[in-house]
């Protein structure tokens, strides 16, 4: 078959079919883009109302509480000789990164009103303190002083309690 004959016998796509294909292609591209974007950590959107801001505050506080409690458990485990330096160091760095990102993301959300401002100040104080205390534990672990980690992590007990209190004070 010559190329001209092949062209003639090939099914001709209508404008509608081409449009459908283009739409399907764009939809697939959109899904891939959304997925790629959402795989990056802690993406945050704007908060337009107090309720919205409060919900985002809760999410950030929950992330922080999880990081604080993970570090407390890690410190306890390492102090008792149940984990080695590399595992402890890497795990602590991960939790510190998680908390720092959560803090940065939360700080970047524009509070919509005065009540939100109050909430913001309160939570950012808690997140800042927790970040400092986790950094202190990480520094101690990187120096190889695993046995003293539980002691260095002591202030995190208060951070944990304060975060829980904060979570209890705002609505779900």
């Amino acid at each position: 078959m010559t190329s001209t004959a092949r062209l003639r016998s090939a099914p001709v796509r209508t404008i509608e079919q081409r449009r459908q294909r283009r739409t399907a292609g764009l939809a697939a591209l959109a899904i891939v883009t959304v997925l790629a974007a959402s795989c990056s950590e802690h993406s945050v959107g704007p908060a337009r109302t107090y309720d919205d801001y409060e919900r985002k505050s809760r999410t950030s506080a929950e992330v922080a509480l999880s990081a604080v409690e993970t570090v407390r458990l890690l410190a306890e485990t390492s102090s008792h000789g149940n984990a080695w330096g590399a595992y402890t160091g890497v795990s602590l760095s991960e939790q510190e990164d998680t908390l720092t990102e959560a803090e940065g993301d939360y700080a970047s959300i524009q509070p919509p009103d005065q009540r939100s401002d109050d909430l913001r100040v309160k939570l950012l104080d808690l997140l800042g303190a927790a970040t400092d205390h986790i950094a202190a534990v990480r520094v101690e672990a990187r120096r190889g002083n695993l046995e003293s980690l539980e002691q260095v992590a002591q202030p995190l007990t208060n951070d944990s309690a304060a975060l829980q209190q904060f979570l209890n004070s705002i609505k779900r």
């Binding site: 959402s38 990056s40 992330v63 409690e69 993970t70 149940n82 795990s91």
Partner: protein, 410 residues
């Protein structure tokens, strides 16, 4: 005696190879967040994979051709292409997650950032795919994966109230802190982790690689009927560890290191070493399976020579696809995407594509031209498989809306 040993080894390999990055993340995060309220999904998922993996193994053993090879022939090129595109995309996400999982496990013993380890891991995966014999590869990583039994030891050492634990698992409810939507979303993630499509592609292609015949149908049954349920118990042990150690402390699982933390805190250093070796083996084994699956599905759809049973020069295009898939996944991994998020999306999206994978298996396993009149599905199996197909369709329809409503389960 040799036969029994072979079957036992197959079962042990099936148990050790049952868990991958998706299972580790999904079971630990649901255990920490939903306690044992989603344990039933693991059971539903494992029954589903038993039903369909047995069919896939039977089809491969009886006609010497894997399922994907038959999909195009039996259901046409269009359906085959849709299946290929969806499966390949999900397989690539899974491969990225597995390679990142291996790198993360190595970083926990070396302190080197996992991103720097990804190219090294990718090279190792390719080298094993290229050089190691199929059976050796399957056995080594499957058996090393048994190290994950340390999760069961951890649960036993914690000494929970077993009645309470059983009651929690058998009386599921949506926790007060969660919505029905997040509960359903995580349920789908667990279901997707248990029924990941690559498992079936690899299982049926592996049966052909191993040269299964009619005489191996018994081994096929034992592997799936004994190995998979025991593998599911391993998944439940991971969930129980997170429920017992992490949930009371309000710890949510966002990192792979947190999955190992209950073992370290309860069993100690030796337990930590064993669990990290187990995670390494499970993710490395799954990285090999997904790499090869990428080659299998493309080569089988396009009718190219494929497999590891011959010299690489006899299946060059198959090996090129495997290599390109590994490179592609490694490149995606080094961009710094969150490996745990990639894992979550890969298992949830695989749930969305499940009917495309499992429907053709059901059709072919009922076709006497492929399996012979004596080996088509019985009534009970067809009824069960049909129920599962309905579940798969419902799950597939619900996945994307739930992903949007729950903002990816957050």
């Amino acid at each position: 005696m040799k036969k029994i040993l072979g079957v036992a080894l197959g079962v042990l390999t099936a148990i050790g190879g049952f868990v991958d990055m998706g299972d580790l993340v999904a079971n630990a995060s649901t255990g920490a967040r939903f306690d044992m309220n989603l344990a039933w999904v693991v059971i539903v998922g494992v029954v589903g994979i038993i039903v369909y993996a047995e069919m896939a193994g039977r089809v491969a053993a009886l006609c010497g051709r894997p399922v994907f090879d038959l999909v195009r022939e039996r259901l046409g090129p269009r359906f085959g292409l849709a299946n290929l595109l969806a499966s390949f995309f999900i397989n690539m996400l899974t491969l990225t997650a597995e390679i990142a999982g291996v790198a993360l496990s190595l970083s926990l013993v070396s302190s080197v950032n996992y991103v720097f380890l990804i190219p090294f891991v990718a090279f190792l995966v390719w080298l094993v795919c290229w050089r190691m014999k199929f059976e050796t590869m399957e056995r080594v990583f499957g058996l090393l994966g048994l190290c994950l039994l340390v999760f069961a030891v951890t649960v036993w050492k914690i000494g929970p109230d077993w009645n309470q634990l059983f009651s929690d698992a058998t009386h599921p409810h949506v926790p007060h802190s969660e919505t029905v939507f997040t509960y359903a979303y995580f349920g789908i993630a667990l279901f997707g982790a248990a029924m990941t499509p690559y498992e079936v592609f690899f299982f049926s292609s592996g049966a052909v690689e191993d040269g299964w015949t009619k005489q191996d149908l018994g081994e096929n049954k034992v592997n799936v009927l004994v190995g998979f349920p025991l593998g599911a118990l391993l998944s439940l042990a991971i969930m129980a560890c997170a429920h017992l150690v992490l949930a009371p402390r309000h710890i949510s699982v966002d990192q792979l290191s947190q999955v190992a933390l209950p073992v370290a805190s309860v069993v100690g250093r030796l337990g930590l070493a064993i669990v990290i070796l187990g995670i390494f083996a499970a993710t490395f084994g799954a990285a090999l399976e997904t790499s090869l699956s990428a080659g299998y599905i493309v080569a089988q759809y396009l009718g190219w020579p494929w497999g590891k049973h011959g010299a690489p020069r006899t299946a060059t295009r198959f090996h090129v696809v495997v290599l390109m898939a590994i490179i592609g996944a490694a490149l995606f991994g080094v961009t710094g995407v969150d490996p745990v998020k990639v894992t979550e999306y890969s298992i949830v999206l695989s749930a969305a594509a499940l009917p495309l994978t499992y429907f053709p298996i059901l059709v072919i396993a009922n076709d006497p031209r492929y399996v012979g009149a004596d080996h088509t599905n019985g009534r009970f199996l067809n009824a069960l498989a049909s129920v599962y197909l309905v579940i798969l369709v419902l799950v597939a329809v619900a996945t994307i809306p739930l992903m949007i409503i729950t903002k990816g389960g957050s």
